[in-house]
Symmetry: C2
Subunit: 143 residues, 2 copies
């Protein structure tokens, strides 16, 4: 595949990662993440958390998070996609709108997360190997 | 090279990254990071910051940080190293002791950062392509 085709496909898989979270769909989330020989190296850092390692532990955390998330919507900005053979890195900003289950008054919180997503090509398909999201705490970009 | 040799060499380069920071040595820091065809994709997230992209911008941030850091010492724990051909991922916890320049009373602060470091093999040498460090804010590992 050409680099442009890879990049387009990678950005689809990256978008599907966030769409699976938005829909609270653990099956779709599981399909995004790498499996088989890559399962042991699957790693995830949720914002403010320590690192979770191994496909099973990572998917368990997503089940827990999705069960405790009433409404969440992502708008991705500053998406940068770099392909290195059978590995790839996408970095992006996650601009988040979220609400608790019980609320009637609309959005409860918004925030910005900077995200690093590492992908591997496994059986011809790009799968997520590592996700690291962290809160942006500083006001300016440069300091 | 065998996988074991790669892993050993990667962990040396990873340790050199932190040693260069401890010594405030921008030349050593520059030697750790990827260059040439990889320079544009060099990316760095300092804890709480948004993403910096490009070798020049990333090294400028290190110059700024090192100029403003009096004393810093890292103890790395939970180091996990995975090699995927000419790319590799090291995750680790950075246990940090730090002090301001002006203090006479010893350590001012400690903290824990979870770190994702992505490496590429460039001209036979492992070089750092991406660093993402984020503060561990939650008390427990699983919640």
């Amino acid at each position: 595949m050409s680099n442009a085709v890879d990049r387009a496909r990678l950005e689809e898989v990256n978008a599907e990662f966030y769409a699976a979270f938005e829909d609270g769909d653990l099956d779709r989330m599981g399909a995004v993440w790498a499996d088989g020989p890559y399962a042991a190296g699957v790693s995830c850092v949720h914002p403010g958390w320590s690192l979770l390692r191994g496909r099973e532990e990572v998917l368990r955390s997503w089940a827990l998070i999705m069960a405790n998330t009433g409404y969440i919507q992502f708008v991705l900005t500053d998406v940068e996609t770099d392909v290195y053979g059978d590995q790839a890195v996408i970095t992006c900003n996650e601009n988040i709108l979220t609400a608790d289950e019980g609320t009637e008054s609309g959005f409860l919180a918004g925030g910005s997360i900077v995200s690093t997503n590492v992908f591997v090509r496994s059986n011809g398909e790009w799968r997520l190997l590592l996700h690291h999201g962290s809160p942006i705490l500083n006001g300016t970009e440069e300091e």
